[in-house]
């Protein structure tokens, strides 16, 4: 279909085009809800089966990094919302600025995630043949706090007492951890790619108060990714902190 200005040929009016895009995006997000839903169900059942292993696994995560990432991501949602606002009142420079901020925050989130993954890799907590839940306490690094290691050791031995097959079950936790955060990160990467495109369009001055649909749509997507994290954070990091 041919495009005349901002209007694609299959549509009669801009209004219709905008409505269609918005509905399309929401419908797509509903698909995403069920896509992640499958993982959430797997998570729920296994956590119900193996509370001890999930608690232990969760406590190996770095709450500071997780918390930091939560703040970063919510902040990026704010800047995204602000760029939608800026584009709808015609503030072109600010639109671009907020988009760039969003992109930077998103990249920061991914950077922190890389650090976290690296830690897990070093501690042999990546599922596979080398997985070993007590690797860290068996092979403490020189700069590890001995007290912390002691505490972790005790926690682990209690957990082993409750669940002799702790290693396998903790591996399930980490499979889910990597599955869920990995899929989430993949969505972030796709989002970041779209942001790059948006920033370029915005710099070219494509968006006006009558036509800012792409900013709004990618905004919706970005907020959705934020929501997924809002659930992942307590479900993965905060299972058993009150020990």
């Amino acid at each position: 279909m041919h495009r005349t200005g901002e209007l694609y040929g299959q549509f009669e009016t801009l209004e219709q085009q905008k409505e269609s895009a918005a509905l399309g995006m929401w419908v797509f997000l509903s698909t995403e809800v069920l896509f992640f839903g499958g993982l959430f169900l797997t998570y729920t059942l296994n956590r119900h089966y193996y509370p001890a292993a999930f608690g232990v696994g969760s406590n190996t995560l770095d709450l500071k990094l997780g918390g930091l990432n939560t703040v970063i991501l919510i902040l990026s949602s704010l800047t995204m919302a602000m760029s939608v606002w800026a584009s709808s009142v015609g503030k072109r420079k600010q639109t671009t600025g907020f988009l760039v901020a969003t992109l930077l925050l998103g990249t920061a989130f991914l950077g922190v995630k890389v650090i976290e993954y690296k830690q897990k890799f070093d501690h042999h907590l990546v599922p596979g043949y080398h997985f070993q839940i007590d690797y860290r306490v068996q092979h403490p690094a020189p700069n590890d706090d001995p007290k912390e290691i002691e505490a972790e050791k005790e926690e682990l031995s209690k957990a082993f007492a409750k669940d002799p097959d702790l290693n396998a079950h903790a591996q399930l936790y980490f499979s889910l951890y990597f599955g869920m955060t990995g899929l989430h990160a993949l969505h972030m990467i796709v989002g970041a790619g779209m942001l790059v495109w948006l920033i370029r369009q915005s710099m070219l001055g494509r968006f006006t108060p009558t036509y800012n649909t792409p900013v709004e749509m990618i905004g919706l997507y970005w907020h959705f990714v934020d929501i997924v994290w809002i659930y992942l954070f307590p479900l993965l990091y905060l299972i058993d902190r009150h020990r």
């Binding site: 918005a22 997000l29 059942l45 119900h48 918390g67 703040v71 949602s77 704010l78 709004e216 907020h223």
Partner: protein, 107 residues
């Protein structure tokens, strides 16, 4: 759709509430409430998600159709979780480790 333009003030207000709720959820996790820990964590997360959907995503100002899509997504997710778990929570306990059988396994 959203001819309604939300002012930045609202956005900042929502952002601050989200921060407070994040702090709350971490704090709550350090208190032992037994089975209620997970309930509280999920309740706070859902509250946060609702704020994001209503304000950041403008659902509050969107047509009914959008609301229906959102409700459908949540409802279907609920079906999947609830009906599947209904099987597990009402199961007869497995005969756990029946020694006679485990003895036969792998022999």
């Amino acid at each position: 759709m959203s001819e309604h333009i939300v002012s930045p003030k609202v956005y900042i207000g929502i952002f601050l509430s989200l921060m407070v709720l994040t702090a709350a959820t971490v704090a709550a996790a350090y208190v032992n409430l037994g089975p209620f820990n997970i309930v509280i964590a999920l309740a706070i997360a859902s509250l946060k998600a609702t704020l994001v959907v209503l304000y950041f995503m403008h659902a509050r100002y969107s047509p009914k159709r959008t609301h229906m899509v959102i409700i459908a997504a949540v409802f279907w997710l609920a079906i999947m979780l609830a009906l599947t778990l209904s099987d597990y929570v009402t199961r007869d306990r497995d005969l756990a480790s029946n020694t006679q059988l485990t003895g036969m396994l792998g022999s």
